[in-house]
Symmetry: C2
Subunit: 663 residues, 2 copies
């Protein structure tokens, strides 16, 4: 199964749904707002290779403020192409064409293509692969080119990018005279593998594989760790280090402290870890296909991926799907270190990181020979919570960090843009290719299959032999569990349909028409329908239970004795917009499992968006009352979806986990 960034075009979002609303907003508002930002901030014409005043800024080392501009442009192009496929927009089309022309003009004769090292430090190409993001920028250009060529059906962007890949392939690798390097910020690996999956360019596969296998080699270059070696080449002492390295040689920051296969736990910068593991999963997946080279170490890669995934999901993930507790390295703390906010020890939960988790989960659904609904659970968790919370309902403001509790220094609010602008276009890219995450499918030899991972209202069309099979799902997800399916074109095919049963549903469901005994089974979070049932019932409905509000809590070892409300896949928070008396970020509010929780369908005035709010009661108790006893003040509480926070004004006070006042 190809990547969602390729397959999404087979899916159409149909009837009204929360996901369709977000996609429309992005298509009609966000893409334009982000384009404006690129124009205002300078990225738009950076490939013209003229000097921008910001290039004089020396306040940040080693990565100057503009170092990611190439990727900002590339990610916008990628997202724009995904949405152009959905809905043509003349301004967006014109911008893409102009940007592509500028990128083409910026390429050096030898194929090299990078703004900073063309304009600011032209003599220093590839001298600091650990910190200077050349390969990261290259990776995003590759992804942009893939999206571009798919939509425009021309090679205007692909041509220079292919040349750039060839340039990189020549320079890096295990051969004589090549550098045994790998990027400090992984990204190019997954881009190269996707490039391979489209082009079958063996160089791209080999290069990605080299990067993945070489990473963390303690003696890769002249008997030394590559980052040590290149540091010596730059004549830098080991104690001179980026601020993201708390200690000298903190190579775990970029997952290079040991070879990936030997890493016991997921460490460091969360986005880098996700991009890296997504590539590893894709390499493993591709190695099982006919065209790609088999991987002798496939079982080791599977074990490593499962190990690192479990470490992350079981011990390093917030209830919202956020990952990364520590701001300094934008990444993972130790196991179970998951404070809710910076004033409690840290919370980062970067938007991009959860986009990365979705990408990784999606790839693991293919790389792992066992279809396991736990990957899907996390995919849904991230989508409806830590990712969706990163954009305002109007599509014009964004978050970078997604703390579970606000504090004086980190209010719950959004910005129109960031100096390091990775997150906003990542949401765009993700929603642009979202159709590709909903399901997998295929068929041949009289058989067809569909695995449905995410529910919404959408239709997919895919070929089986010479015919086209169409599967439509229709639901009011994430608010209701009833999903109506309609399969067409599968008459006579032996069609297996697997439907995800989210963990929060506890596997409770019903099917209509009710299947006879033996017509279904449940395996690892998927309800597998027998082809006979599908043949008899091309229209059927699944009713997933578990939409009653429930209390959830983090693992006891987190030392977070808190309760959070959830409903279906949606995790809730409390905001000062509903509680104007609040002045202390809800630190003093406790709730109990026994209390009644009621639902209220609300329609937001400003956005017109509907959602279920939840109501319950709690107790405000000051630290003194908590320590010395006392009842505190009874409070009527309203909870709103975490993804909907910071859309209604207020003081920016918000909390996901409230003090657990039960036992």
């Amino acid at each position: 199964m190809s990547n969602p960034q390729i397959t999404f075009r087979q899916t159409t979002f149909t009837g009204p749904s929360l996901l369709l609303t977000r996609r429309r907003t992005i298509s009609r508002a966000t893409i334009h707002a982000q384009l404006d930002q690129l124009r205002v901030n300078g990225q738009y014409d950076c490939f013209k290779l003229k000097w921008h005043p910001i290039y004089d800024d020396k306040s940040r080392w080693p990565a100057p403020l503009h170092l990611f501009w190439d990727s900002d442009v590339a990610k916008w192009i990628e997202g724009a192409c995904y949405f152009l496929a959905d809905e043509y927009d003349v301004e967006v089309d014109a911008a893409v064409r102009e940007l592509v022309a500028m990128i083409r003009s910026a390429q050096h004769d030898d194929g090299y293509l990078n703004v900073h090292f063309s304009v600011v430090e032209p003599g220093k190409r590839w001298t600091n692969i650990r910190d200077m993001h050349e390969m990261y920028n290259a990776g995003h250009l590759i992804e942009a080119a893939l999206a571009h060529t798919q939509y425009y059906r021309n090679d205007l962007l692909m041509e220079p990018i292919a040349k750039y890949i060839a340039h990189i392939r020549t320079r890096f690798g295990p051969g004589e005279g090549q550098l045994r390097a790998y990027p400090g910020h992984p990204e190019i690996e997954l881009a190269l593998l996707r490039y391979y999956s489209v082009t079958r360019n063996q160089d791209a596969f080999d290069l990605a594989r080299f990067f993945l296998e070489e990473r963390g080699n303690p003696a890769g270059q002249d008997g030394k760790h590559f980052y040590d070696w290149e540091m010596e080449q730059r004549d830098e002492p080991r104690w001179k280090r980026p601020n993201s390295f708390p200690m000298d040689r903190s190579y775990w920051y970029c997952q290079a402290h040991s070879p990936i296969l030997e890493q016991p736990s997921v460490e460091g910068h969360a986005v880098r870890a996700m991009y890296l593991l997504t590539a590893a999963a894709d390499m493993l997946h591709l190695s099982k296909t006919i065209t790609a080279p088999a991987l002798a170490t496939a079982s080791d890669w599977l074990a490593a991926l499962r190990r690192l995934w479990s470490n992350m999901v079981d011990k390093k993930m917030y209830l919202t799907g956020g990952i990364g507790a520590v701001a300094q390295w934008e990444g993972f703390g130790i196991d179970y270190f998951l404070p809710q906010g910076p004033d409690e020890g840290g919370c980062y939960a970067e938007t991009c990181a959860s986009v990365g988790v979705m990408m990784l989960a999606e790839r693991l659904l293919h790389a792992d020979p066992v279809l396991d609904g736990r990957y899907t659970d996390v995919m849904e968790l991230c989508l409806y919570n830590n990712i969706m919370t990163a954009m305002s309902a109007d599509g014009k403001a964004f978050t970078y960090e997604n703390q579970l509790a606000s504090c004086g220094s980190a209010k719950s609010e959004r910005d129109e843009w960031f100096v390091c602008a990775c997150c906003p276009p990542n949401v765009t890219r993700l929603f642009g290719s979202l159709g590709g995450y909903l399901w997998d499918y295929g068929g041949g030899d009289g058989k067809a299959w569909v695995n449905v991972h995410l529910y919404t209202s959408a239709e997919v069309r895919f070929p089986v032999g010479e015919r086209e099979v169409r599967l439509e799902q229709h639901s009011n997800w994430p608010w209701e569990g009833n999903v109506l399916f309609d399969i067409k074109g599968a008459e006579g095919l032996e069609t297996m349909i697997r439907l995800h049963l989210p963990a929060w549903s506890k596997g409770e469901f019903s099917l209509t028409p009710t299947p006879a005994a033996g017509m279904f089974k449940v395996e690892r979070g998927y309800l597998c329908l027998d082809p006979a049932y599908v043949a008899q019932n091309p229209r059927f409905s699944l009713d997933v239970r578990g939409f009653a509000p429930r209390f959830i809590a983090p693992h006891p070892y987190t030392n977070q004795r808190t309760l959070t409300l959830a409903r279906g896949p949606v995790v809730y928070c409390i905001e000062d917009a509903d509680h104007q008396w609040e002045e202390n970020h809800f630190k003093d509010i406790g709730i109990k499992k026994g209390e009644e929780v009621t639902e209220e369908w609300r329609v937001d005035e400003k956005s017109g968006e509907g959602y279920f709010a939840l109501r319950s009661v709690g107790w405000e108790r000051s630290p003194d009352v908590v320590m010395n006893g006392g009842d505190g003040t009874r409070r009527e509480l309203v909870f709103v979806p975490f993804y909907f926070r910071a859309n209604r004004g207020g003081k920016g006070q918000m909390r996901v986990g409230l003090r657990d006042d039960g036992i």
Copy 2:
């Protein structure tokens, strides 16, 4: 009132007590064991200025492993002199004499005196005052010289040290051609002020004052922060930094991020902060004496000291009196960040830091115009818990860090010595001068006064006019609250006695004979006896209540929902030595406030030491049971004093705070 390091000789520890037991152990075992360590590890003869193999070690930067050797020797001399005053020891005496001769021989003609910069980097004196500990070492040499001259009544050590002080005074200060520097590791300030209090050497006072007032000046040297200026002189980039600096210019690490008077909270390396503030408190105290210069900013210093003290005690101190949650900078985390162990996010609680807290609390009792028992509470807390836990009952093994919970990487156990050997001799020094912490006293013009801070069995003698007043206290503290007082030589004097009422006693006490109305009052944690009562009752007894076992808990904002047992000033822990079934560091054990706690007087077989153990019941519940409900396994639990942990073998599993299973 002079410093306890000066006044301790007026106090004699009498009848049996826990403190006397520790002092005897140190005098008879510890001093010798530490001398052996100095001999084995090289410090002993380092002032001979010969090359030691360890000097070749370049693994640590900027401070090499041997950089603190001067202070190791100095601290041992200081402690040895305190105990020699108590009990003569021919071996200790001979070693002090030999060490002093070696130190004298190591001094340069210009007065400079430092091993590293004489042997290893002779050209680099005073080029890295931020990191290279020259002034720290100098400060400990000054303290050693003060102790030496007090015991030996000669100037053999004082003479070279006075010359060294003069050398430093010439080099540093606000004058033309002087460096506006201040030590990265504060220590010399408090030493200089004590030196001043003995010698009235104005240069010493002025230098200490300069260091305190100049610290953190953003534009001290050529318009730059001194540490920036000297970094430029060394041609070092700001991103080259010690591993204790998480970010570039993390000057808060050494309390130099802003002038002390402007610092809103206590930050950075905990020992440095305590030494620095002790000096500030002493400067403030001295400025109120006749001989010392008055301080125009006295009220600002008082406000700063109170502010930083409160921030530390209210928001950054463990239940055991430990401070410092973060290992990387051996210091403070953010407010309320107090995990119990490294596996929960950090816990350092360095021994030296609590010694520093005691020093600071003692000085604040004099610097603050208001006698406030809250300083005394913390002094007692540190003494009986985080400090006493740092040495084994046999006096031969020590801890550096004092986590409140063990984990796989940090077992509850002691070592005979450390590469950075600051803590063991600090315990020696503290216990050597402990008599000076028990009480303050004075008198004249027909009046006398004594403020009793700590209870034990001891006697103090002090002159009032031409007579000698003696006050004896006798008790079984910390196990029982009855303290018998006997004052002699005060006949005809108007004698005010103030007795500390620990916060944990909730101010409950009785006096025998019962005082008549108006014969006493209680003010800020002190019971003030009217001179008429003292005159009528030269023998009286105080009975402090609060020795029933009690449950204590950290502040709710720490996110530590735990309970700990305490009895009087002693905080308890649970150890695997009493619970051989334990395998998970008591992470899964919960206790409840309602449960009965019984006491059991135990005598340790190996050490012969007695203590109250506490017994109660708890519930072992796995994370799964905690999350999903269930009773768990009922467990009989035994608690022992935290200070007595790691004396009885076992697996090194220990915990102070257990999961609170009540509401």
